[in-house]
């Protein structure tokens, strides 16, 4: 099982802050997105936006990063702090 978190505008668009799901580990970030979209077809436009960023275990990663069982994954829009 892995935990997937959503933040900010993405969280509001999906109307969801957190899901848990089983993966065939290791799978990369893009495959995970595809799996999520398969389960939530109406999330496709929001989750596949070019600008959506991904973090695994609280570190930003790119689309080819491999996810293992037990990881914490997060998807969010470009950051706007400071």
């Amino acid at each position: 099982m892995i935990k997937v978190l959503f933040f900010a505008q993405l969280k509001e668009l999906l109307q969801c802050s957190q899901i848990e799901l089983s993966i065939n580990a290791p799978c990369d970030v893009d495959s995970l997105k595809q799996q999520i979209v398969n389960e939530h077809p109406n999330w496709q436009a929001h989750l596949n936006q070019n600008k959506v960023l991904a973090a695994v275990n609280q570190t930003m990663v790119d689309a080819t990063h491999l996810i293992n069982d037990g990881d914490e994954v997060a998807f969010f829009p470009p950051v706007t702090g400071g």
Partner: protein, 157 residues
Amino acid sequence: MTQMHIAVQTDDFDVAKEYAHLRENNSQDGAIVFFSGLVREMNQGHGVTGLFLEHYPSMTEKSLQNIAQQASERWPLTHIRIIHRIGQLQVSDQIVFVATSSAHRESAFASCHFIMDYLKNQAPFWKKETREEGDEWVAALEKDETALEKWQEKGEK
């Protein structure tokens, strides 16, 4: 060894206290630079009355630590202090504080600027503005992304 202090908090911060921490028992530094970020009443052409700062709690401090660590490896710094507020803020409120101290001014200026540029691009904070026409998430600006280029060029020399 650089002394680092990093805080993510709803409370306001006191710049005078932060400055005192940087000067305490510090006879080796000739230069302190600090940056303070405030809520502006106009942003990207919209009137703003306040904003809400959301963050990714378990990642925020880790991300700021990582940025501070990079700065400490790149410049000879005695202190790095970073404070970022979260939650509901009003116009003119303090949002973020970054201070660095070093023997010389070039290191202090560059490192403080570097930390702010990376914080703007990598630390997981998001601003939702209270605008006259309703609440709206702030859009990320391309200029914040291109601001990182100056540090990459220098790194390649």
